[in-house]
């Protein structure tokens, strides 16, 4: 099968479909939502729209080595919520977190029953890897989940790239997108819609991005570019806490996870002098138990202070532990093992170097995303959200995203029962406008044959965000003037998006992804501007407001872009404490 060539929008065949429940994104959260919807009502037609392939799409493509939120004996939903609140600098939606916590264990146990191997001790108990973590052998966990989705009889549309919601007045009534293989435009009407497209990687220039074949050497799944956020932003959905970015300590150059090492094998972070960074410099904030944003920022602070490079100290590990550690990586980011071999590095003699990652917007780790209620309904009727795209629930991770999928499905099924949302006639103008928007890079290719490649524009955005909106090269620091510069330039890039060209359908997807990234970046910079304090130093570091300001900002910063004017409106929502 060859590449599909550019065509004019009017020549693209339309495919109309109708369904009861449309789930956009067949990653972990989307798959759990699909299964739960079918469990709630097997007669519902459930359709998944996925731009990749359900077997290997989303963050779990390469697999996972641990479930980081499992409530073990002696712990409760409340204790987990309390821990998460501490990690998140005191700001999280406790209503959301508690309801999610109630579902966590069941979701994981289901996965195990379906075939996911979870490590157990001789008593049959899950092997703990820290207070909330359990170790799994998850290289095939996504495949296992996909098989279950098929078994439940869900309709799966692989390689269909969602571009916008289908609107029926103020209500979301499905979605539109194009099929990468068929070269057709899909218009899917749905009585309820769940968005589960994941977070946004690639908004910032990664420091690993220095030439050939390294562009996607990032921690987060680079194919999650924030399309779900962008679609919501364009539809006027309320977003929350984008400014709480996820910047993590990762293995240097490779950008691989380090909790695997530091939590799993008790390996401390050390600086160039061999000092245990957390124990020696952050004892006042809890040492090894300091909040994530402190831990995440600590090695970078050491660099700035002239005490870099920093490491996680693996030199105490036994050969068995090293083998286990490598097995963990093989189940999550297998090439880290290759990376060590390619550096001829024996980690029992030489510690693993660490560094900060490029920033990501990812609701599974921080609180960024759609503003939702406990039913996981967004502020736009008919639209529900779960997983990394849903906000307010930091530290939900893989297990929490699965549990949230279950909750979103329940919310959507309840909505279907109560609202009796019917299928109205389709607004043809909306479809035609969307086709013109989506296929504009083809029109330019056909009419002009020259313009801006999506990769060029992506790299321009990434450098802009890195330098002016607190990227890794700036040690995550920013101030008002730089953020305003960023906004001004994002506006120029948005205006220039009309010059994007695509030579085939894959490039068309890339162009639309870049357009989505611009929309997400714009809202993100507004959030960063609005929070005039420094609440999470590693994640959001306002040089012009270096202190935490609880009086003014112990609340959620939310935004809504007006679909008519395109103006981004910023406002706050109060934090409500439920768990003592």
């Amino acid at each position: 099968m060859g590449k599909l060539i550019p065509v004019y929008p009017q020549d693209v065949e339309d495919v109309f479909m109708e369904t009861d429940l449309l789930i956009i994104g067949a990653g972990n959260a989307g798959c759990y939502a699909a299964i739960e919807a079918k469990r709630q009502n097997p007669d519902l037609k459930v359709t998944l729209m996925e731009k990749a392939h359900i077997d290997r799409s989303g963050c779990l493509a390469g697999g996972m080595d641990a479930i980081n939120t499992y409530i073990k004996k002696g712990e409760t939903a409340e204790s987990l919520t309390r821990w998460s609140r501490d990690q998140a600098g005191g700001l999280l939606r406790e209503d959301l977190y508690l309801t999610m916590a109630e579902e966590l264990n069941k979701a994981i146990e289901d996965w195990e029953e379906w075939g996911l191997p979870i490590k157990k001790d001789e008593n049959g108990e899950y092997i703990a890897r820290g207070r909330w973590d359990i170790a799994i052998l998850g290289s095939e966990m996504k495949v296992i989940l996909a098989e279950k989705v098929r078994e439940y009889g869900c309709e799966i549309l692989n390689r269909v790239v969602a571009t916008n919601f289908l609107m029926d007045g103020d209500r979301v009534a499905g979605a539109m997108g194009f099929h990468l293989r068929e070269g057709k435009f899909y218009i899917i009407k749905a009585r309820a819609t769940i968005v589960a497209t994941g977070g946004a990687g690639g908004l910032y220039k990664p420091y690993t991005n220095d030439g050939n074949d390294c562009h996607h050497q990032i921690w987060y799944c680079p194919f999650n570019v924030g399309t779900g956020y962008a679609m919501g932003i364009r539809a006027g959905a309320e977003m929350t806490t984008f400014e709480m970015r996820w910047c993590a300590v990762r293995t240097k150059d490779f950008n691989g996870p380090i909790d695997t090492i530091s939590v799993g094998y008790n390996a401390a972070m050390i600086n160039a002098r061999g000092e245990k960074i957390l124990a020696e410099r952050y004892a006042h904030l809890g040492g090894d138990k300091a909040p994530r944003f402190i831990r995440a920022n600590a090695p970078m602070e050491e660099w700035l202070a002239g005490r870099g490079p920093c490491y996680v100290d693996t030199t105490h590990m036994t050969p068995e532990q090293i083998k286990d550690l490598k097995t963990d990586y093989l189940n999550e980011r297998p090439t880290f093992v290759l990376f060590l071999a390619a550096r001829n590095q024996d980690i029992s003699k030489e510690p693993i170097e660490i560094y900060g990652s490029d920033p990501y917007i990812v609701g599974g780790h921080t609180a960024s995303g759609y503003w939702i209620d406990v039913k996981r309904a967004t502020t736009v009727p008919g639209l529900f959200a779960c997983g990394d795209v849903a906000g307010g629930t930091p530290n939900k991770f893989v297990g929490g995203c699965a549990a949230e999928g279950v909750l979103a499905a329940r919310g959507a099924v309840e909505y279907l029962q109560n609202s009796g949302a019917g299928q109205n006639s389709l607004n043809k103008d909306q479809v035609n406008q969307e086709k013109i928007r989506v296929f504009r890079p083809f029109e330019r290719q056909l009419n002009v044959g020259d313009g801006i490649s999506p990769w060029e524009m992506e790299e321009r955005l990434q450098r802009l965000m890195d330098e002016y909106a607190g990227g890794v090269h700036q040690f995550y620091r920013m101030n008002r003037e730089r953020l305003e510069y960023a906004l001004k330039n994002i506006a120029m890039l948005k205006d220039q998006a009309k010059y994007l060209v695509a030579k085939d359908w894959h490039e068309l997807m890339k162009c639309n992804e870049v357009i989505d990234m611009l929309d997400v970046a714009e809202v993100l910079v507004h959030h960063l501007l609005y929070r005039e304090e420094t609440r999470w130093p590693g994640w959001q570091n306002r040089v012009d407001f270096p202190e935490r300001n609880d009086e003014k900002f112990n609340c959620f910063v939310n935004s809504r872009r007006d679909p008519q004017t395109g103006r981004v409106e910023m406002f706050t929502r109060p934090y409500e404490k439920i768990v003592s």
Binding site: A52, D55, G58, G62, E140, I144, K326
Partner: protein
């Protein structure tokens, strides 16, 4: 990190539909050459090295290579999938071989 396809082993999955690597790549990066019907990575810079294609290739025709920017020595990491287990062989400098094998499915 580009996946390298061994053209002698790749058989384009024989089918008329997509080859397996093409079907499953989360980044839509694997394609079949229209003339040779062999798979190739269309945009090596965009690969996330998840190794889905390497594991799924029924011919064992794909290898993940590290770009020089990341690793200095030509190491290899070769997965071999059974029906319920997976093995990994990592070959480093001086032919140092590390092997891993374990169940990855329980059903």
């Amino acid at each position: 990190m580009p996946p390298k396809v061994d053209p002698h082993k790749c058989d384009g999955c024989k089918g008329e539909k997509e080859a397996i690597c093409m079907a499953i790549c989360p980044g839509d990066l694997m394609y079949l050459n229209e003339d040779t019907l062999k798979a190739y990575c269309r945009s090596p810079r965009d690969c996330w090295d998840c190794m889905s294609c390497v594991k799924a290739c029924p011919q064992g025709a794909i290898e993940t290579r590290l770009p020089y920017q990341l690793g200095y020595y030509p190491a290899k990491l070769i997965p071999l999938m059974g029906s319920k287990r997976v093995s990994w062989t990592c070959i480093g400098q001086d032919d140092k071989v590390e092997r891993f094998s374990y169940k990855n499915r329980n059903d």
